[in-house]
C-alpha cells in the first residue's frame, strides 16, 4: 500500500505535537520513524489510524493507496517542501485514475470508514505486549479479532487461519490457543501481537516500538520475524522506535524526528554511517554504546548495522 503524508500537523490542545511532516512509503517499502520521546512519532501513527485522542486536531494530508483520509486541497496542490528529506523521495501526486476510491480533497472520512480500514488494510503492533493484550481473552480470541470484524468466515475457517498465523509467528497453536496472555512470556506475547496485526493480511503494518519492552535477544528475534513476515506478505512497514540498532534491522529508509519536525531522512545505512544532524549522531552513538555495553562480543552487532540495512 502506498502511503503518503503531506505537511501533517497535529496539535493537542494548544501545543503543537507534529509541525509539518512529509513522507511516503511505497508498496513493500520499510520506513522507520526514529526520535526521542515526545518527538511525535506515536502521534503520527495514531493519525494514520484515525485514533488520535479527543482534543487533538489534525491538519495536512494523509492518503493511502490513493484514498485521501484527511487533508485540504492546499496540501495536495502545493506539495510538501517542509522536510529537507522530501527531495530524496518526491511525493507522487495523486492522479484521478489512481486505484481505489478518491475522495474530494478536504473531506475527512468518517469514523466508521476508518474502523473498516483498521485491522483490514492497516495492522498495528504495539509497544508493550503485556498491556496491549486483553487479559480476559484467550490467544485464539485475540488473534481472531480482525477476522471476526472484517470477514464472514465459519468458525472452522477462522480457527484454521488463526492457527496458521500462530504457526507462522513461531508459536505452537495447540499449546497457546486456549492460553491467556498472562500465561505467556514477553516474547510470546509480542508474537501474539504480531499474529493479530497480520492475520487479516493488511497492506500496511505500523509497528509502534514493538521491541522496546523486550530483552536484546528477543528484540532481534521479533524484529527479524516481523520483517520476514512483512516481506513475505508484500506489505509496507512503518516502524517507530527510538533505537537505531533495531531500526537498522527493520528498515531501509528512515526519518529522524525531533519535536514534531523531520530533521534528517534517507537510507538507514547512510544515516548510520554518516549522520549529519546532531540528534541523529546522538541516537546512532547511543545505539552503538548500548549494544556494545549490552554484549561483550557485540562487535558483530555493530557490523550488523550496515549489513542489516544494505
Amino acid at each position: 500500500m502506498g502511503v503518503e503524508v503531506r505537511n501533517l500537523r497535529i496539535t493537542l490542545g494548544n501545543a503543537p505535537i507534529v509541525r509539518g511532516v512529509d513522507f511516503s512509503i511505497g508498496q513493500g517499502g520499510r520506513v522507520g520513524l526514529i526520535g526521542p520521546s515526545g518527538s511525535g512519532k506515536s502521534m503520527i501513527a495514531k493519525a494514520l489510524l484515525g485514533l488520535l485522542p479527543s482534543g487533538a486536531r489534525v491538519a495536512g494530508g494523509i492518503a493511502m493507496e490513493g484514498v485521501i483520509l484527511a487533508g485540504s486541497s492546499a496540501d495536495w496542490t502545493t506539495g510538501g517542501g517542509h522536510a529537507d528529506g522530501s527531495s530524496d523521495h518526491p511525493v507522487p501526486t495523486l492522479a484521478d485514475d489512481d486505484d481505489g476510491l478518491l475522495l474530494a480533497p478536504g473531506y475527512a472520512v468518517s469514523d466508521r470508514w476508518m474502523a473498516g480500514l483498521r485491522g483490514r488494510y492497516v495492522g498495528t503492533v504495539f509497544q508493550n505486549p503485556a498491556a496491549a493484550l486483553n487479559p480476559t481473552a484467550t490467544v485464539g480470541q485475540q488473534v481472531a479479532l480482525p477476522l471476526k470484524r472484517h470477514f464472514r468466515l465459519s468458525r472452522a475457517e477462522r480457527r484454521e487461519r488463526v492457527e496458521r498465523m500462530l504457526a507462522k509467528v513461531g508459536l505452537d497453536p495447540a499449546d497457546v490457543m486456549r492460553r491467556y496472555p498472562g500465561q505467556l512470556s514477553g516474547g510470546q506475547q509480542q508474537r501474539v501481537g504480531i499474529a493479530t496485526a497480520l492475520v487479516a493480511a493488511p497492506r500496511l503494518i505500523i509497528a509502534d516500538e514493538p521491541t522496546t519492552a523486550l530483552d536484546a535477544v528477543t528484540q532481534r528475534q521479533i524484529v527479524d520475524l516481523l520483517v520476514s513476515l512483512v516481506d513475505d506478505a508484500g506489505a509496507s512497514l512503518l516502524f517507530i522506535t527510538h533505537d537505531f540498532s533495531v531500526l537498522a534491522r527493520a528498515t531501509t529508509r528512515c526519518l529522524v524526528l525531533d519535536r514534531g519536525r523531520v530533521v534528517e531522512s534517507g537510507p538507514t545505512a547512510r544515516l548510520l554511517a554518516e549522520p549529519r544532524e546532531p540528534l541523529t549522531r546522538r541516537l546512532v552513538t547511543a545505539a552503538r554504546t548500548l549494544t556494545l555495553g549490552a554484549s561483550p562480543g557485540g562487535m558483530d552487532d555493530t557490523t550488523d548495522f550496515g549489513g542489516g540495512a544494505a
Binding site: V122, T124, A137
Partner: protein, 325 residues
C-alpha cells in the same frame, strides 16, 4: 450475575465430576468461573444456600406442607410442632409453607432486580466511558444527580400508577442499583477503556460495541459481579421494607417481607414469629454477599491471566476450604 444462579445451582452437581479430570480446562468460561467460586469456602457456602433456596422455590410452586389459605382461628401463634415445624402465624396458617412460597417470590425479585440493574448500569457505564467527551460528561453528571433520589421515594411515586406490586420493587430497586453499579464500576471500566489493549483492539478493527462487550466489561467484571450480587441481597431487604410500607408485594402474595410485616407488630408478644422470616432473609443476603466476594476473586483478570488452569484442579484450593470450614 445472579441471573445465572439457577444455572449455577444445577451445575454445582457437575462440580465434583469436573474436578476429577482435566475437563475443567475444556469447560467454557462460565464453567471455570463456577468452579472457581465452588472451590472457595465462602463461594461454596453461597452456592449451597442459593441452590437450596432455588430448589425450595421450585418445590413451593407445586407443593407446600399446608395450603397457604388453610387458616385456623383456634391455633394462632402456635409454637413449632410436628404438624407445623415452624409454628403458625396470626391467622393460624403454616409459617413454613408461607416462607417456602415466599422463597419463589423473593428469588424472582432478586433475579429481576439484578437483571434490570445490570442492563441499566451497563448502558450507563457505556455512556460514561464513551470516547465522545460530551456524552461521557453528561452521563457522569446525570448519574450523580439521579443517585440522590432515595429508593423509597421512587417506590412511593411508582406505587401511584402501579399500586403495591412486585413491579414497584423491581423498577425502583433496579433503577437505583443500576445507578450505583454505574458509579462504582466506572473507575474500573474507565481504566479498561483507556488501556493499551483497548487501543490495540481499536487499531486492529474492533468496533465501539465490540470493545465494550469483549474488553471493557470482562475486565470490569470483578467490580460488577460484587455490586450486582450485593444489589440482589439488598433487594430482599428493600422488598421487606417496601412491603412493610405497603407499596411492595401486595397482601395475599407470599413473600418474606410479607411474613415479616404480618408478624413484626406482635414481636413483643410472639418474638419467635419474627425469628423465622428474619433468619431466612439474613441467610439469603449473606449468601449473596459471599457469592459476590467469590465471584470477584474468580473473575479477576489478574488471577485468570497468571494462574495456569491446572492450578484450579489442584487440591490446593479444596484443602484450604477444608481448613477454613
Amino acid at each position: 450475575m445472579i441471573g445465572t444462579s439457577k444455572r449455577r445451582g444445577s451445575a454445582v452437581r457437575g462440580g465434583p465430576a469436573v474436578c476429577g479430570g482435566r475437563a475443567a480446562r475444556a469447560a467454557g468460561a462460565a464453567g471455570r468461573t463456577l468452579y472457581a467460586v465452588w472451590s472457595r469456602g465462602g463461594g461454596r457456602a453461597a452456592l449451597i444456600v442459593i441452590g437450596v433456596w432455588t430448589a425450595v422455590a421450585l418445590v413451593s410452586l407445586v407443593w407446600t406442607p399446608w395450603p397457604l389459605l388453610a387458616t385456623d382461628g383456634y391455633h394462632t401463634w402456635q409454637a413449632p410442632s410436628p404438624a407445623h415445624p415452624l409454628g403458625t402465624d396470626g391467622t393460624g396458617a403454616d409459617v413454613l409453607s408461607w416462607l417456602m412460597a415466599g422463597a419463589a417470590t423473593d428469588l424472582a425479585i432478586a433475579l429481576l432486580v439484578a437483571l434490570v440493574a445490570a442492563v441499566w448500569g451497563t448502558l450507563l457505564i457505556a455512556a460514561m466511558v464513551s470516547r465522545h467527551g460530551a456524552l461521557a460528561g453528561t452521563a457522569v453528571v446525570a448519574v450523580d444527580a439521579l443517585i440522590s433520589i432515595p429508593t423509597v421515594l421512587l417506590a412511593l411515586i411508582l406505587a401511584v400508577p402501579l399500586g403495591a406490586s412486585v413491579a414497584v420493587v423491581v423498577c425502583a430497586c433496579g433503577f437505583a442499583y443500576g445507578l450505583n453499579l454505574a458509579r462504582i464500576a466506572r473507575p474500573a471500566a474507565l481504566l479498561a477503556a483507556r488501556s493499551a489493549y483497548v487501543e490495540s483492539a481499536l487499531a486492529n478493527g474492533a468496533s465501539g460495541m465490540g470493545v465494550l462487550i469483549r474488553h471493557i466489561l470482562p475486565n470490569s467484571l470483578p467490580v460488577i459481579a460484587v455490586q450486582l450480587s450485593m444489589s440482589a441481597g439488598t433487594a430482599l431487604l428493600a422488598e421487606a421494607g417496601l412491603t412493610y410500607l405497603g407499596v411492595g408485594v401486595p397482601s395475599g402474595v407470599p413473600s418474606w417481607g410479607h411474613s415479616l410485616t404480618t408478624s413484626v407488630r406482635f414481636v413483643t408478644v410472639y418474638p419467635a414469629a419474627v425469628l423465622w422470616p428474619g433468619l431466612v432473609v439474613t441467610v439469603a443476603v449473606v449468601a449473596l454477599n459471599l457469592l459476590g466476594d467469590a465471584l470477584r476473586d474468580a473473575t479477576d483478570p489478574a488471577a485468570v491471566g497468571s494462574a495456569p488452569p491446572a492450578d484450579a484442579v489442584e487440591p490446593d484450593g479444596t484443602g484450604e476450604v477444608r481448613d477454613g470450614r
